[in-house]
Structures are given as structure tokens and as C-alpha cells.
């Protein structure tokens, strides 16, 4: 084992024959290319979706994209092992930030989950997700067993539950829910016996279902729903979903044409540049546009899986799997939500939805994953 200080500057480690600048050629850049292409699609779509809104959303998102790519590049420079070691510290810091935002944060969209830092709005939950993935990668990476046992699973659950419940208290259900797929992906890859998995899932389903159906009255359920997700259906009566499905469906195969979508241009579709940006894309570019974007996401996802597979150690694999699971779940949930396959909640579409924090987080995750790939030959 090398010392940590040696590993931090992996890029400059000329002593390693296959690292260094020559190693750059073997990195799966497809991940970055897919992410960048998706971000460009996002800019173009945001431009159309926000044409009826006051304020230059496209320019702001373009600036955010520049910042995000820069931060992703910086993240690439850090050795993943160093980052994993920082896990506990970052995790503790993120919990402190989450507590702080609960007390002094700014409210947006019914959720108290933001800090206003001058012109920049910072969402600690994005940071908490990253920190949690790092801590889990460190913890589960250190478990040298074929399968996790019950004690390890419980501890994993607790690690996830702490920041997650704070995010729930912020009334950001979408943000809180994202902890689950990240942790789940990592746990699955770290190894669980089928019977443990089945029993856990069943137990959760039964307990949750019983509580939901028998211990809560209708109005209480409604109250819970409005509590955890106040902005899910502001106009009531399924208006959002209906307009969204009309937008998607009316796109047909070829779409209505760029800037020609009546649902978005005539302002029938709410949240059209943020959570429902994919509906605008589907309306204006049709099924062909949808397929192209989904293919880009598939490319991104499979590149990520490839990186995870050949990472140099357990922690590296788990780190990539955690980050990738988070992004993949965002993609699947958002696209499914837009056509009503799953309940509407505030989950943006990675790389495409308007919003700086999330774009930044996505590119930082991409940078870290590429960093893992770049350092796979270092110190095996």
C-alpha cells in the first residue's frame, strides 16, 4: 500500500508506466462525451422551453455548464482513494450542513433545502449524497467478504438513513428518495444473499403497506403526501400529468418541430424547463428525439458500468456504482414520471433539466468516475 500523499497526484505520477499522460488514452471518455452531449441537448431544449418565460435561462444554464465541467475536471484530478478516505469527514460535514439548512435555509418550491450564497444557490443534499456514497464506498469497500451480513447491512442502512431523514424533514422527497437507489446499487454489488434481500424487501413492503393502508386515514395519507411533496401537483386534478402526456403524445414520431410545441410554447405545460423538460423534448423532437436521448443515457450508463467493472479495488467499484446508480435512477424515474408511469415528484433529468446544483453534481460525479478509470492501473 502506498501512502495517501503519493496517490493524490496520480496524474503526475510518472513513475507508474501506464499511468500519466499516456494513460489518458485508455480512459472511457465516452462517459464524458455522452454527458456533454446530453448537456448540450439540455441547453437547446431549455432555450425552447423557456422562450415564454422572462429571464435568460439558457445563458444562465450555459454558465452553469461551464462551471460544472470545470468542477468535473477538478474532481477528475483527485485520486479516488483519497476521496474515499475523506468520506467520514465529508459525511459529517454534510450532516452538519443539512441540519443548518433546516434552520436557516431558504425555501424554494415548498422545500427548505437551499442556501443563498450571494448569487449562487447551494443545495446541501446534493453534497450529502456524494458524501454518503464516499462513506459507503469506504465502509463496504473495507468489508472483505463475498456477501454482506445482517450487521453490515444494518449499519449501511443507518448511514443512509441519517442524511436521508434530514432531507425528508426539508420536505424534499425527491432528493431524499435518491439515497435509496444509490445505496441499493452499492449493496447489490457489494453482495447480499438472495434470501436476505427478499426478506428485507418483503418486510419493508409489508410494514409500509400495512401502515399506509390500515393505520392512516385518507386525509392523513393526503397530509403525509402534501407534507413530503408539497409541490407535486400544484394545479390539482392531475393537470400537470395530463398536459405532460398530451405534450409527449402529440410529438408523434417526428415531433412538432423545434420551438413549435404548442403545449410548451403556449404555456400549457408547467415546469417545462425543469422537471418536465423531457416532455418538451418529446413534443418537439418526437419519438426519434426520445430514442436519441435515451441512447445517449444508455451510452453513459454502460460506459459507467464498464468503468466500475475494471476499477482497481472494491471501493472504486462501489464508488462508481453508487454515483452511477444515482444518475441512472434519476434518468429512469424522471422519464417515467413525465408519462405517468410513476408518481410525480421533484426529480430532475440529469444533464438536461434546468438547474445549476444538479448539473454541477452530475459533472462532478462524471469527473470522479473518469478519475477512477484513469487510476485503475495505479498501485494495484
Amino acid at each position: 500500500m502506498r501512502s495517501i500523499s503519493d496517490s493524490v497526484q496520480g496524474l503526475g505520477s510518472a513513475a507508474e508506466p501506464r499511468a500519466g499522460l499516456r494513460g489518458l488514452a485508455h480512459v472511457r471518455w465516452g462517459l464524458a462525451v455522452a454527458g456533454l452531449l446530453l448537456a448540450l441537448v439540455g441547453l437547446v431544449t431549455i432555450h425552447s422551453a423557456s422562450s415564454e418565460l422572462s429571464g435568460d435561462y439558457t445563458a444562465r444554464q450555459a454558465i452553469w455548464l461551464g462551471v460544472a465541467v470545470l468542477c468535473g475536471a477538478i474532481a477528475f484530478l483527485f485520486d479516488d482513494r483519497f476521496l474515499v478516505r475523506l468520506g467520514p469527514i465529508l459525511y459529517g460535514l454534510s450532516l452538519a450542513l443539512l441540519l443548518m439548512v433546516l434552520v436557516i435555509g431558504n425555501v424554494a418550491g415548498g422545500a427548505r433545502s437551499w442556501f443563498e450564497l450571494g448569487p449562487v444557490r447551494f443545495q446541501p443534499s446534493e453534497f450529502a449524497k456524494l458524501a454518503t456514497v464516499l462513506l459507503l464506498a469506504r465502509y463496504l469497500g473495507g468489508v472483505h467478504q463475498e456477501y454482506l451480513n445482517l450487521r453490515q447491512l444494518t449499519l449501511t442502512g443507518l448511514i443512509v438513513l441519517a442524511p436521508m431523514s434530514l432531507v425528508v424533514l426539508e420536505r424534499d422527497l425527491g432528493g431524499a428518495a435518491m439515497f435509496v437507489p444509490m445505496a441499493l446499487g452499492m449493496v447489490l454489488v457489494a453482495g447480499v444473499r438472495w434470501r436476505v434481500l427478499v426478506v428485507t424487501v418483503l418486510l419493508a413492503a409489508v410494514v409500509g403497506g400495512l401502515a399506509w393502508n390500515f393505520f392512516l386515514l385518507d386525509y392523513q395519507r393526503q397530509r403525509v403526501l402534501t407534507f413530503i411533496s408539497p409541490s407535486s401537483d400544484p394545479l390539482g386534478a392531475g393537470y400537470q400529468l395530463r398536459q405532460s402526456k398530451i405534450a409527449v403524445g402529440s410529438g408523434g414520431l417526428e415531433g412538432r418541430g423545434y420551438m413549435q410545441g404548442t403545449q410548451s410554447q403556449l404555456r400549457f405545460l408547467p415546469a417545462r424547463h425543469t422537471d418536465f423538460v423531457f416532455a418538451v423534448l418529446a413534443e418537439e423532437w418526437g419519438f426519434s428525439g426520445v430514442l436519441v436521448v435515451l441512447a445517449l443515457y444508455a451510452w453513459f450508463g454502460l460506459s459507467g458500468v464498464g468503468i466500475a467493472e475494471r476499477a482497481r479495488d472494491r471501493a472504486g467499484i462501489l464508488l462508481v456504482v453508487g454515483l452511477l446508480s444515482g444518475i441512472a435512477f434519476h434518468v429512469l424515474y424522471n422519464t417515467a414520471m413525465v408519462v405517468g408511469l410513476v408518481p410525480i415528484t421533484g426529480i430532475p433529468l440529469p444533464f438536461i433539466s434546468y438547474g445549476g446544483s444538479f448539473l454541477l453534481a452530475s459533472f462532478v460525479a462524471t469527473g470522479i468516475m473518469l478519475g477512477v478509470d484513469f487510476r485503475r492501473h495505479v498501485n494495484r
Binding site: I246, G249, S250, T262, V321
Partner: protein, 596 residues
């Protein structure tokens, strides 16, 4: 170390996540494919429904002209104010603003809105009509701050001569729920449709066909652009047979009394005037908001909405003696030279019947009986004919069935006979009643228009005409031969000329230089024990006055029937009105040329 680390186990499991992700991406793709390809047409339609609003382009309602082309009814643009509650941020403030600009009390506007609260928020509420240009400008100026207001230009019916032509033209009213539900009619809620008269009967051709326009709206319902899909077809212009000058004069003559005047060409049934009094201003019906005036019209004891020319069935009185005479001659129960002695009264079927003239007429033949309107002569003639033969001739002159004029609500009147009595009263005909019918009283009922048709038949030598206000020679049924001997009618024409021109009861209708023929009628409202002058009785017990006439006697071009409700004697209350109308029509006054 690698084995102890169990790295390979993890690397082995990782692709499972990849497959899982790929599978779900395919599921999502399939869902989009289903919605966009399979259901695309459906959602495209929904999207179009969202953004495209179909609005009717109103077809302007056809104009109505008199026979010479004078404009009687037209559509004039009117600015109306509509309130879209769904767009209003503060409905109270909106109404306050409207009340200030319109200078109307706020509660009044509030009431208009409240009346509509059951309707959808998206349906506009009509707040004002006939706004001034200044008011329109004020609403247009604030269209950004107050998007809830929309100023709409709409055609409003305007009747230039108001009450003077109302009995013929009728009026418009808002389409009813029932009519909206009718299949085959393209009504839209809020449409005005003809409710009476020409407006009603010719509604379909006057209305034209509305076009359609597609308006692109945004999610706030604000119009972004619009394009015409189908142009509107303007309503047809209707030319009436009416003579505006005669009609106006007829209405003015009836002013301050109740009654009706019909003027008709006896050759083809073209109506030249059809007046009914009291009349009303049909322009108030073109306003949708003023319901109080409408209620006043309905509640009025003189029933201004009733068209007395066709909707009053009244005893014809002595006018019916013309029919009696024709019947007597045709049935050969009398000859013109047969004489009857009138002593002022005579007993029939155990009851003493009076002649209108207290001292009696002495010996009277048919000519004198008509000219002086002797009742005793016709009592005897009635007795000879019997009710069934009287009824037969009454029907030959068109009584008992509506004339079929192209106006709505015409009454049939009634021609009584034995069968009628058994059918409707369940008792046999009482012969004493025949005596009453013989002088046009009793259960015999006719409308003024039926009297005009009867007079036309006398005037034109036996043709039953179809009265009409819209001239269309091709579609009107031709006059029907009644089968009454023209020689009898020629004789009657000359007798009736004498009524007016030879010291008869119709002398008050006499016009120098014009051969007017006519017959007066006076209908007793209450059976009088003594002969009290009608003017001394309370209004609703006074006699009804008739005068039925045509001119020129030898070549009749115009029939005029005057009916004055509770007017008193026909010779005094009705005949002079006919004279004035003949003077107007035949241009006996200086400065007007010969017409007809």
C-alpha cells in the same frame, strides 16, 4: 490479496446493474413509443383542443325591406362587454372598474354575474351592450391590466320604425335550451332567433349561416392568432309586400285605441298593411339585458304582443251580411227583389229580436238591407237558410280555418253548425242561435285577416287568395276558385258601393273620385236591454267596430279591413280610418302619385 479483497465478486456483479439499467431504458422507450406512435393521433387532437378554440363568425342577419325597398329592419354593430371570470385576479375589483366606466351601479353588475354563477368560470358574462366609443376605448386601454374584459362587436337588430312595423316583423329572442338541443339546427348558446312575425317565420333564411374561425389560445385562454376556416354566409334580404307608408299610417290611426287594420291586394293576397294596436317597440328585445320592459309588455292588460289582425277571433257583426246575401242568392232562397217588412223588431223562436234601427226600415229588399244594414231582413234570411247552409257559405269565404298567412300564431276562428254544437258543446244546435249568426253574432268568430280574405273574394270575383307578407310568386299556391257565382259577387260589389256612396252606413268612408265599396259592422259586447249609445258605456262594454271594404269597386286593387275593439259603431269608429288609408294609398292627397 485480490481474493481476500473479493474485488472480482463485485466486478462480476456490476454488469447486472448495467443490464438492469438497459432493460429499464427499453421499458421507458417502449412507453414513449406507445404514447407517441400508437396514441399519438389521440394526443395530437388533445393538444389541438388545448390550443385551438373554434369560434363562430356570426353571419349578419338579413335586412327586411318594404315593397319599395325602404329599410324596415337591419343589423347594426353594437359594442358589448364580456367578462371572463377565469382571467380575473380580483373579481370585485374588476366589477368596480366596469361599474365606474359604464356608470352603472355596482350591485346591478354583480347581479348579472350572480345570475351566471352556475355556469362555467370560462363562459363569459355579458355585462353591457351598446357601449359608447368612449367606453370601448377605456376598456381597450386597460386590456393588459384587465385581461378579463373583452369588447366584442356584435350585430344588433334595429327596427327603424319600431312599433309601426312590429306586428308584421316580430322580434328576436335568445335561443332556448330546447332549441339548442334540436338536431339539424346550428344554434349556439346566446344566439338570437326570430320569436314572432316575419323574423320567426323566415328565421332560417334571414339568419344565414355562421362561419367558423379557429383561434389559437394559450393556457390563459388569450387569443394569439386566428384564421378563418369557413366564411359566414350573410342572411338573405327579405322584401315584403308591405307598403311602409300605408302601414305607418294604419298604425298611427289606431294609436290610443285597440284594434287592427289589414290592407291587402285582393288579386294576389299581398299584404300592404297589417297593423295591430297597441303595438310595442321590438327594439327592446334586441337588448338582452332589459327584462323589466319585457315583463311590462306581458303584464299589460291590452296585450300589446297580441297581433290583433290574426290573433283575435271576433264576431264579424253586420260584415257577415255579405256572406249571408251571397248564400241566400246562391241557394235561391231569396231574389234581389224580395221584400221584407222591418218594424224595428220581430219575434223568432219565441224571442223578440230587434233591428239596430229603433223605428224599423219599413219595406226592404236585398239592396236596401245591405245599404242600411237591416237586421230583420237577415234574421228572416237566416231562418230560411238554416245554420248548416250558412256555415257552408261561411267556409266558402274562408272562415273557420286560418288563412295560412306567413306569420305565426294565426287563429282559425270558428264557424258553428249543428255538428260543431254536438261535438264541442254536446247539445243540438238551438235554432234561435241561427238568428244571431245571421247578423254575425253568436259563436261565429273571424279574424280581421279572414274578413279581408272574404272581401277579396267578393272583390276579385270568387277567388280565395293566400295572404302573404313576403312576395314570391313561384312558391305561393295560386288562388282557389270558391265556386260562388261571379254574377252574385258582381251584384254584391255594386250593393256594397252603395253602402259607402249612396247614403249607406259606410258613408264616412267615402272618398271623392274613388269608388269604395264596403260594409260596416257593430258587434255588441253585452246583450243590451235598451239602446244605449256605446260611448256612454264603460270601455270594456262598448261595441266593437268593423269596416270591411275594397276599392275601386269595379276593378278592386285594395281591400281594407278595420277592426276597432270597443270602438263603438262601425260607421263612426272604423269607416273613417279606412277612408284615410285609401287616400294615402290611391294618392288622393296632393303631392303623391297614383299607385296600386
Amino acid at each position: 490479496m485480490r481474493v481476500r479483497e473479493h474485488r472480482e465478486a463485485l466486478a462480476r456483479r456490476t454488469p447486472i446493474l448495467g443490464w438492469l439499467f438497459a432493460t429499464f431504458v427499453l421499458v421507458v422507450a417502449a412507453a414513449y413509443g406507445y404514447i407517441q406512435l400508437h396514441e399519438g393521433r389521440y394526443y395530437r387532437e388533445l393538444a389541438d383542443n388545448n390550443r385551438l378554440r373554434r369560434e363562430p363568425i356570426r353571419a349578419p342577419r338579413g335586412e327586411i325591406l318594404d315593397r319599395q325597398g325602404y329599410l324596415l329592419a337591419e343589423s347594426v354593430p353594437s359594442y358589448t362587454l364580456q367578462l371572463y371570470r377565469s382571467r380575473s385576479a380580483d373579481p370585485k375589483a374588476s366589477l368596480r372598474f366596469a361599474a365606474r366606466v359604464l356608470q352603472r351601479p355596482l350591485p346591478e353588475l354583480q347581479q348579472l354575474v350572480d345570475q351566471r354563477t352556475s355556469n362555467s368560470e370560462f363562459q363569459p358574462v355579458l355585462l353591457a351592450e351598446n357601449m359608447s366609443l368612449e367606453q370601448v376605448a377605456k376598456f381597450r386601454a386597460v386590456s393588459l391590466e384587465h385581461p378579463e374584459f373583452e369588447v366584442v362587436t356584435r350585430g344588433v337588430r334595429f327596427y327603424r320604425h319600431g312599433p309601426l312595423t312590429a306586428p308584421i316583423l316580430g322580434y328576436l329572442g335568445e335561443v332556448s335550451e330546447k332549441e339548442l338541443a334540436q338536431p339539424g339546427e346550428s344554434y349556439v348558446a346566446g344566439d338570437l332567433v326570430g320569436r314572432r312575425g316575419v323574423e320567426r317565420v323566415y328565421d332560417r333564411s334571414l339568419r344565414g349561416r355562421d362561419g367558423e374561425r379557429e383561434v389559437v389560445v394559450d393556457s390563459h385562454g388569450r387569443a394569439r392568432e386566428s384564421f378563418e376556416r369557413e366564411p359566414a354566409t350573410a342572411g338573405r334580404t327579405l322584401q315584403l309586400t308591405l307598403d311602409l307608408r300605408l302601414q305607418s299610417r294604419a298604425e298611427r290611426l289606431l294609436e290610443s285605441r285597440a284594434g287592427a287594420i289589414v290592407a291587402m291586394d285582393p288579386r294576389d293576397g299581398a299584404i300592404r298593411a297589417l297593423a295591430s294596436s297597441p303595438s310595442y317597440d321590438p327594439n327592446i328585445f334586441s337588448q338582452r339585458l332589459q327584462r323589466s320592459e319585457w315583463q311590462m309588455l306581458i303584464d299589460s292588460p291590452l296585450h300589446p304582443l297580441q297581433n290583433r289582425a290574426i290573433q283575435v277571433a271576433q264576431s264579424p257583426g253586420s260584415v257577415f251580411k255579405i256572406v249571408m246575401a251571397a248564400a241566400g242568392l246562391a241557394e235561391h232562397v231569396i231574389s234581389p227583389s224580395d221584400q221584407v217588412f222591418c218594424a224595428g223588431s220581430k219575434e223568432f223562436y219565441g224571442s223578440r229580436r230587434r233591428c239596430w234601427k229603433a223605428g224599423g226600415h219599413g219595406w226592404v229588399n236585398l239592396h236596401k238591407a245591405l245599404v242600411e244594414s237591416c237586421d230583420i231582413y237577415f234574421y228572416e234570411l237566416g231562418q230560411k237558410l238554416g245554420i248548416d247552409r250558412i256555415a257552408k257559405y261561411a267556409r266558402l269565404f274562408g272562415f273557420g280555418t286560418a288563412t295560412g298567412i306567413d306569420l305565426d300564431g294565426e287563429l282559425n276562428g270558428n264557424v258553428p253548425d249543428g255538428a260543431w254544437s254536438r261535438r264541442t258543446r254536446g247539445i243540438p244546435w238551438y235554432p234561435g242561435e241561427t238568428i244571431s249568426v245571421a247578423i254575425g253574432q253568436g259563436p261565429l268568430l273571424t279574424t280581421p285577416l279572414q274578413i279581408a280574405v272574404m272581401m277579396a273574394e267578393v272583390a276579385n270575383g270568387g277567388l280565395r287568395v293566400h295572404p302573404h307578407v313576403v312576395g314570391n310568386a313561384t312558391s305561393d299556391p295560386p288562388p282557389v276558385e270558391s265556386g260562388i257565382d261571379p254574377a252574385i259577387l258582381a251584384r254584391l260589389r255594386s250593393d256594397l258601393w252603395s253602402v259607402v256612396n249612396d247614403h249607406g252606413t259606410g258613408a264616412n268612408a267615402r272618398v271623392e273620385g274613388l269608388d269604395i265599396a264596403g260594409k260596416t259592422g257593430t258587434v255588441q259586447v253585452v246583450r243590451q236591454a235598451t239602446r244605449i249609445e256605446s260611448a256612454d258605456l264603460p270601455y270594456d262594454q262598448r261595441d266593437h267596430a268593423w269596416f270591411a271594404s275594397f276599392a275601386p269597386a269595379q276593378d278592386p286593387k285594395l281591400v281594407i279591413v278595420v277592426y276597432v275593439e270597443h270602438g263603438g259603431k262601425g260607421s263612426q269608429a272604423a269607416a273613417p280610418l279606412a277612408r284615410e288609408l285609401y287616400e294615402v294609398y290611391f294618392g288622393q292627397r296632393p303631392g303623391s302619385g297614383q299607385r296600386g
